[in-house]
């Protein structure tokens, strides 16, 4: 996002109502064109405040460095006029940003550029009141840099729970700049801050040097029972950490939590998917009765319901995973996770800093690749970008669930859940191996040592968590309703229009144009156990891997028109070749799983890598290495499984 955007078309220039005294026009210069930059240390409550001011939905977490881009919003002032608001990524210091592409670099660069654009923006520095002295260090730098400054001290509520009160007037006096004390989550925060912005003289405070630590001490008043309250608050986080970061209990809990989370995604969402599958089957029955057998019915049942509808059934898993990740992050546990895995990740050329983006990759690689900006070291960051596509994103789930229930339905639900967790583990393992190789070749070099803030534990806000889940569901629904629906329809056409005469034998689908392409690939894919149907599925899912189940749904829908309301898994299990032998074996199922663990079948991810690395070299590299690895491993798995009698 460019600073130039700030004069975009949405800017409303309010001229003074005709004949009004010029005094309002003079002050108008300030209000119409006013730019306000929210700046602060990572995890200072900046994004919460931004959300409160704009009603926006900036991602709020309890992890340093959650805002990785400049967010922009507009807000009306109580006195009339509007301000353009910019929420910058967290910044510890103006001077110490190492990599210009890291989150801190983005913030420092944005500020630097704004200097060259006429009137300086008003910098609203957000300070976490419970870490006043640290925040005031950045204030010292801002005073020296000569920006018009407003200091917003947040977390007043937590400060109070620590038994402390901030003397805002004394702080204002010492800084020579206006100070507001708020609790960013409360409803009054917006009014207080907007009032302060409206009243700001727009001039920089006179330069002065302050001693951050001494000043913090001077303006914080302890309530009578302060010491006890503060000790209690500190003890609480300390007590939780004593368990969660315990040398033995901590890692066990961590592994249990992660394993449990991925198993829960399967165990809880499995019945939900089955139910949606059931509904889809019923609907298909209604359509068949209404329109009879024919092209329209086939298009709706096989193309739309079998394609896009099959994908839609996986929405519960995706929402559940998003909510779980949000809870972990908002509570402050993710930073502990980073502490726990730092030593382990170092074996593979990462530090604990890469933990957040790598874990986020388990929901979706696209935001995870953006989140690599929290990694300060450029080479470590590039490595994270290159291996994130191997993490088990939620789009792989439909295929995993389909294959496990098609070929392992006879096994207990716990066996299938364990297989699911194993697939997540396989993704992580392949990512670590890839990193190990990359750090010895393409991204060789030293890693900057870890320095990571461990924030105090906070109770996640239900509203924020639910909103996040809702948004992920909505986004998924939109994708299914647009791209996936369109591609499903196209695939249906490709699979329903025969290019060979009926005399060639076989079903319509088998004589279609798509099948011809799939069959041309069979000589290469047969040693991995993939027939033309799977090949068509793999081509259909090149752009988005969710489409695999959709495509298989369409093919088996067209081929097995007589059992339209049976779940796809059952169709796969019972499908036979012309000679009556089963079409697929468990070896094929395992090989397909292996392929999906590794292949980067996602154009959005490719685009994200292009955006973050600013070159085509790395996205093409990712496509090449993941597809080659996927094919080779699928062949090994298929041939190995056959040796063990699973053929």
């Amino acid at each position: 996002m460019n600073a130039e955007d700030c004069h975009g078309p949405s800017a409303v220039v309010r001229s003074p109502v005709g004949g009004e005294p010029l005094e309002s026009a003079a002050s108008d210069r300030g209000t119409t064109d006013r730019r306000v930059v929210l700046l602060g240390r990572p995890n200072s409550g900046k994004s919460s405040l931004y959300n409160a001011l704009t009603g926006g939905s900036a991602h709020v977490g309890n992890y340093p460095g959650i805002t990785v881009d400049v967010l922009e919003g507009e807000v009306e002032l109580p006195t009339g006029g509007r301000v353009h608001l910019y929420d910058l990524p967290g910044l510890y210091s103006l001077a110490s940003a190492t990599d210009p592409d890291s989150d801190e670099g983005v913030a420092a660069r944005f500020l630097g550029r704004s200097r060259g654009e006429g009137a300086l923006p008003l910098v609203a520095q957000i300070i976490d009141g419970t870490q006043l002295a640290l925040g005031l260090r950045l204030t010292t730098e801002l005073l020296g840099a000569g920006y018009p400054l407003l200091v917003v001290v947040t977390q007043a509520d937590r400060l109070a729970s620590h038994g402390q009160v901030l003397d805002g007037a004394a702080l204002e006096e010492a800084l020579g700049a206006p100070v507001v004390v708020v609790s960013a989550r409360s409803n009054t925060a917006k009014a207080l801050v907007l009032e302060a912005i409206a009243a700001h003289p727009q001039t920089p405070p006179e330069a002065r040097s302050i001693d951050a630590k001494a000043l913090a001490k001077a303006v914080l008043r302890e309530a009578t029972d302060a010491k006890a309250a503060q000790r209690r608050a500190r003890e609480r986080t300390g007590k939780i950490d004593a368990v969660l970061l315990h040398p033995i209990v901590g890692p066990i809990l961590f592994l249990t939590l992660m394993g449990g989370l991925f198993a829960a995604v399967f165990l809880v969402a499995d019945p939900a998917s089955t139910f949606l599958d059931f509904l889809k089957g019923k609907l298909a029955g209604v359509i068949t009765r209404r329109f009879g057998e024919g092209l329209i019915t086939s298009f709706i049942n096989d193309g739309i319901l079998g394609g896009a509808g099959t994908v839609l059934a996986f929405m519960p898993q995706i929402v559940l995973l998003t909510v779980a990740m949000e809870l972990l992050e908002a509570s402050g546990y993710l930073a502990r996770g980073a502490f726990l895995v730092d030593r382990f990740l170092r074996l593979f050329g990462f530090s604990g800093r890469a933990f957040l983006p790598l874990l986020m990759g388990h929901a979706c690689a696209v935001p995870a690749i953006g989140a690599t900006r929290v990694v300060r070291d450029p080479k470590e960051r590039l490595t994270s970008i290159l291996v994130i596509p191997l993490m088990t994103c939620s789009a792989r789930m439909p295929t995993y669930a389909l294959v496990t229930s098609a070929f392992f339905a006879g096994r207990s639900v716990f066996f299938r859940a364990a297989l699911f967790v194993g697939l997540y583990a396989a993704g992580i393992l392949s990512g670590l191996v890839a990193s190990l190789i990359l750090r010895k070749t393409a991204t060789r070099g030293k890693t900057l040592p870890l320095v990571l803030e461990l924030p105090a534990y906070r109770l996640p806000q239900a509203r924020v968590v639910l909103r996040k889940g809702w948004l992920s569901g909505k986004r998924f629904f939109r994708d299914v309703g647009t791209t996936i629906l369109a591609v499903s329809a196209l695939l249906w056409v490709g699979l329903s229009v025969p290019v060979q005469p009926a005399s060639a034998g076989g079903t319509v689908a088998e004589r279609s144009a798509a099948a011809a392409v799939g069959k041309a690939l069979e000589p290469v894919t047969a040693i991995a156990g993939f027939d033309w149907r799977i090949n068509v599925g793999l081509i259909g899912s090149f752009g988005a891997r969710e489409l695999m189940v959709g495509t298989l749904g369409i093919i088996h829908g067209i081929e097995g028109a007589d059992q339209d309301d049976a779940p796809l898994a059952e169709k796969l299990r019972t499908a036979t070749k012309n000679d009556g032998t089963p079409l697929y074996s468990r070896a094929t199922g395992l090989a397909l799983l292996a392929f999906f663990v590794l292949a980067c079948q996602c154009m959005s991810t490719v685009a994200a890598i292009k955006r973050e690395t600013k070159s085509w070299k790395w996205p093409l590299f990712v496509l090449a290495y993941t597809y080659v690895a996927a094919y080779v491993v699928a062949v090994v798995v298929y041939q190995g499984a056959r040796l063990f009698g699973l053929g």
Partner: protein, 90 residues
């Protein structure tokens, strides 16, 4: 600027990675690399600042450090080995 704290009886400079758990200490030396030093100062680890090691990660994992300003940080052990501290009485 630096708070005057009484030095412990056995105050000798040692590197942060060797500081015993729960022992309050004062920073007397930071890494020579100015970028790293500036980054550390920004999180409250600078000459004269006090800190406390709460725990150590297993197998050479990071240190969990509480700084004088009240912030808590994970600090890589290799970096801690470049920070010199002296023990002070709590």
């Amino acid at each position: 600027m630096s708070p005057v704290a009484p030095l412990a009886a056995d105050a000798r400079p040692q590197t942060l990675d060797l500081l015993p758990r729960g022992q309050q200490a004062q920073v007397v030396g930071v890494p020579a690399d100015s970028a790293v030093a500036a980054w550390l100062a920004a999180v409250g680890i600078a000459q004269g600042e006090e800190l406390l090691v709460l725990r150590r990660g297993l197998f050479g994992g990071p240190l969990h450090v509480r700084t004088g300003c009240g912030g808590e940080f994970a600090v890589a052990r290799s970096l801690a080995a470049e920070i010199t501290v002296v023990s002070v009485a709590a």
